[in-house]
C-alpha cells in the first residue's frame, strides 16, 4: 500500500490544479491569519497602553474595553464560519485530484 501512494503524490505534485489549490489556499489563509492576529493583539495592546481611552463608557455602563473584548467572540465565530465555507470549496478540488487514486 505504501508503494502506490508514494507514486501518486508525485503525479499530484506535478498537477497544475494542485498548484492552483495551494495558491488559492495561501491567498485565503495568510491574510486571514494576519487579520485575526492583528485584531486579537490590538486588544491587550490598547488595554495595556491606552487604558484611559479603553475606559470610556460607550453603551450605558459598558466601556470600550469590554465591548472590544466581546467583539473578539463575534470575530472568532465569524472567522470560523468564513473558514469552513472556503475549506468546503477546497475539498472539491482535493477530491478531483484524488479521483481514481484511492481504490484499495
Amino acid at each position: 500500500m505504501k508503494q502506490p501512494t508514494s507514486l501518486l503524490w508525485e503525479r499530484i505534485a506535478k498537477d497544475d490544479r494542485f498548484h492552483e489549490l495551494m495558491d488559492r489556499k495561501r491567498r485565503f489563509v495568510v491574510p486571514s491569519v494576519i487579520f485575526f492576529l492583528v485584531y486579537y493583539f490590538s486588544l491587550p495592546i490598547l488595554v495595556g497602553y491606552w487604558p484611559s481611552l479603553m475606559k470610556q463608557p460607550i453603551l450605558g455602563p459598558l466601556n470600550l474595553a469590554y465591548l472590544f473584548a466581546l467583539s473578539q467572540f463575534v470575530m472568532t465565530w465569524a472567522m470560523a464560519w468564513i473558514y469552513v465555507r472556503a475549506a468546503n470549496k477546497f475539498d472539491g478540488v482535493a477530491r478531483e485530484l484524488l479521483k481514481g487514486d484511492e481504490k484499495q
Binding site: 505534485a13 494542485f18 495595556g48
Partner: protein
C-alpha cells in the same frame, strides 16, 4: 457536604461504566490511541472542549474575574481566539498526514530518531506541568469542599491518579473521549445554571447586572471604596503589566495549537473535514462557556464579594461559593462535583497524550527504529507508561502539597507549547528548507528558554526577579522560531526539502491518510 461526595461518586460510577464499555468495544492500536478514528464531529467538538476547559478555566478564571474584574476576563478571550490558530493552521494537515502524535508531522521529513526523541521530551514536559497543576488543584479542592467527609488532600490526589490511570489503561482513547464529553455537558450545564441564577438575582435585567459590576464595593486598606470592575488594570499594572498581558496573549493564542493533548484529539475522527467541523463545534461550546464567565465571574464579584471568598477558601472557590449563596448546599455540591469532573477529564486526556507519545514516538520510533516488533506491543507500552505517569504525578503532587503555587505550571505548559511545539509544526508544514537541525533547534530552544525564563520570573523568584514578566511567551516564542531558523541554516541536509512536496500533497489533499476502522 456529603451531597457533593454523593454527586461526585455518581460521576465516578458513570465514567467507570463508560470505561468498561469502551474496553469491550475497542481493539488494536488505532482503537487504543485514536478511538478507531470513528468519533463524529460534534462528539469530538465536545471532547476537545472537555479536554481543554480545565480547573484553571472554570475555577481559576471565575476567581480572577471575581478578584481582578476585566483583567481576568482577558484569559477568557485568549482561550477562545486560540482556536482560530488550531482551525486555520494545524488541525487538518495534522489529521491528513499524521498517525498518533504531533511528532508524526514534525519528524515526517526529518531524520526521525533525534526529532522524535526531542518531540517526545517536549510533549512529556508540557503534559507533566499541566498534570501536576491539575492534581494539586484537585487535592486542594477536596480539602476545602469535602472537609467534613474526612477525605484528605493525599487521599484525593491518589484517587484522581488511580481514576485517570484506570480510564486510560482499560478504556484507551474511547473511554477518555466519552469521559470528556460527559464532563463538557456537565460543565456547560453547571455554568448555564449559575449564569441564569446570577441574572435572576438582578431581576433578569442585564443593565442592572452591569450597573452592579461597574459599582462594586471593595475594601482597600481598611476603607470601603467603589470600583468599576469593567475597567482594565486591576491585575496588570504598570510598569510591566501591559507587557505581561501581551505576553500572556502570545502564549494562549499560539500555545493552544501546540498542546499535545488537544492535537491528538484530531486523530480520533475519520478525516480532515470532520476534524475541521469538530474544531468549529469546540469553538461554539468553548466560546459559549467563556462568555458565561462574564456572569459567574462578575457575579461572584458583586453577589459574593472578595472578602467573603478570601475568608472561605480563597480565590479558586469563587464559583462554588457563588453557587452556595445563590442555590444553597445542593447547588454548591453540584458545582463542586462539576469541578472534580472537570479535573478528571483533563488529567485523563493528559495521561493518554503522554502515554501515546512515549509509546509511539520514543519506544517504537526512537528505540526500535520505527519497526513494531510484535502486534500490540505499542499499546502494552502505552498502558505501562500510563501507570508510571500516574504514580509519578501522585508522588510529585503529594510532595508539593496543597499549598503549592501551581498557577505558573499551567502558564508554563502553554509557554512550552507555544515556544517549542508551534514553531516546529509551522516550519514543518510551510518551510521547505526546514530540516532536522532546525526541528531540534526550535524544539530545544523553545523548551529551554520558556522553562528558563519562568524559573527567573516573579512567580518563582518574587518581586525582585531577574525576568520581570510572569509569562515568557513574548520572548520565548520568537526564540523558538529563531532556534529553528538558525538550526536549519547551519545544516546542509537536503533530504528534508525533497520530502516537502510529498508532505504538502498529503497534508492538503488527504492522500494516504489514516482510515477509520470499519467495524
Amino acid at each position: 457536604m456529603t451531597t457533593s461526595l454523593g454527586i461526585f461518586l455518581a460521576f465516578i460510577v458513570a465514567t467507570l461504566a463508560i470505561t468498561w464499555w469502551a474496553a469491550r468495544k475497542s481493539s488494536g492500536s488505532d482503537g487504543f490511541f485514536a478511538a478507531g478514528r470513528r468519533i463524529t464531529a460534534w462528539q469530538n467538538g465536545l471532547a476537545v472542549a472537555g479536554d481543554y476547559m480545565s480547573a484553571a478555566s472554570f475555577l481559576g478564571i471565575a476567581g480572577l474575574i471575581a478578584f481582578y474584574g476585566y483583567d481576568g476576563f482577558m484569559y477568557s478571550v485568549g482561550f477562545l481566539v486560540a482556536y482560530l490558530t488550531v482551525l486555520f493552521v494545524v488541525a487538518e494537515p495534522l489529521r491528513n498526514a499524521g498517525k498518533y502524535t504531533m511528532a508524526d508531522i514534525v519528524a515526517y521529513r526529518m531524520r526521525p530518531r533525534p526529532v522524535r526523541a526531542m518531540a517526545a521530551l517536549s510533549t512529556l514536559s508540557v503534559t507533566t506541568f499541566y498534570m501536576i497543576a491539575q492534581m494539586v488543584g484537585a487535592g486542594a479542592l477536596v480539602k476545602l469542599l469535602l472537609q467534613d467527609s474526612g477525605v484528605s488532600y493525599s487521599a484525593a490526589v491518589v484517587g484522581v491518579g488511580i481514576l485517570m490511570v484506570v480510564y486510560v489503561v482499560f478504556g484507551g482513547m474511547l473511554a477518555t473521549t466519552w469521559v470528556q464529553i460527559v464532563k463538557a455537558v456537565l460543565l456547560m450545564g453547571g455554568s448555564l445554571l449559575l449564569s441564569i441564577l446570577v441574572i435572576g438575582h438582578f431581576g433578569f435585567s442585564l443593565s442592572a447586572f452591569f450597573e452592579a459590576v461597574t459599582h462594586v464595593k471593595v475594601q482597600e486598606n481598611g476603607a470601603d471604596v467603589v470600583k468599576n470592575f469593567l475597567e482594565p488594570g486591576m491585575r496588570y499594572k504598570p510598569p510591566h503589566g501591559p507587557l505581561d498581558l501581551l505576553s500572556l496573549g502570545v502564549a494562549l493564542v499560539l500555545g493552544t495549537a501546540g498542546l499535545p493533548h488537544i492535537l491528538i484529539r484530531f486523530y480520533t475522527v475519520p478525516d480532515a473535514k470532520t476534524a475541521r467541523l469538530s474544531v468549529v463545534w469546540a469553538m461554539g461550546i468553548i466560546g459559549a462557556f467563556y462568555l458565561m464567565t462574564t456572569f459567574f465571574g462578575f457575579g461572584a464579584a458583586t453577589i459574593v464579594g472578595k472578602e467573603y471568598i478570601l475568608a472561605n477558601g480563597g480565590v479558586n472557590m469563587s464559583a462554588p461559593l457563588l453557587a452556595k449563596v445563590l442555590g444553597g448546599e445542593i447547588l454548591f455540591a453540584f458545582i463542586s462535583a462539576v469541578a472534580f469532573a472537570t479535573i478528571l477529564a483533563v488529567v485523563a486526556g493528559l495521561t493518554i497524550s503522554a502515554s501515546t507519545s512515549f509509546a509511539h514516538d520514543f519506544w517504537t520510533n526512537v528505540v526500535h527504529h520505527g519497526v513494531a516488533r510484535s502486534p500490540g506491543e505499542e499499546v502494552r507500552v502505552a498502558r505501562a507508561t500510563a501507570f508510571v505517569v500516574g504514580v509519578v504525578a501522585i508522588i510529585i503532587a503529594i510532595l508539593l502539597g496543597p499549598g503549592a503555587n501551581v498557577a505558573f505550571l499551567v502558564g508554563l505548559a502553554f509557554a512550552v507549547a507555544a515556544s517549542a511545539n508551534l514553531p516546529a509544526i509551522v516550519y514543518s508544514l510551510f518551510w521547505k528548507r526546514f530540516n532536522t537541525a532546525g526541528a531540534l533547534g526550535s524544539l530545544g530552544v523553545g523548551l529551554v528558554s520558556s522553562i528558563g525564563l519562568i524559573l527567573m520570573s516573579p512567580s518563582v523568584q518574587g518581586p525582585s526577579a531577574f525576568f520581570p514578566l510572569d509569562n515568557p511567551g513574548l520572548v520565548s516564542v520568537p526564540l523558538g522560531f529563531l532556534g529553528g531558523w538558525v538550526g536549519t541554516m547551519l545544516s546542509q541536509e537536503t533530504t528534508s526539502a525533497e520530502k516537502f512536496e510529498e508532505l504538502t500533497v498529503r497534508a492538503h489533499t488527504g492522500l494516504g491518510s489514516e482510515k477509520a476502522s470499519t467495524h
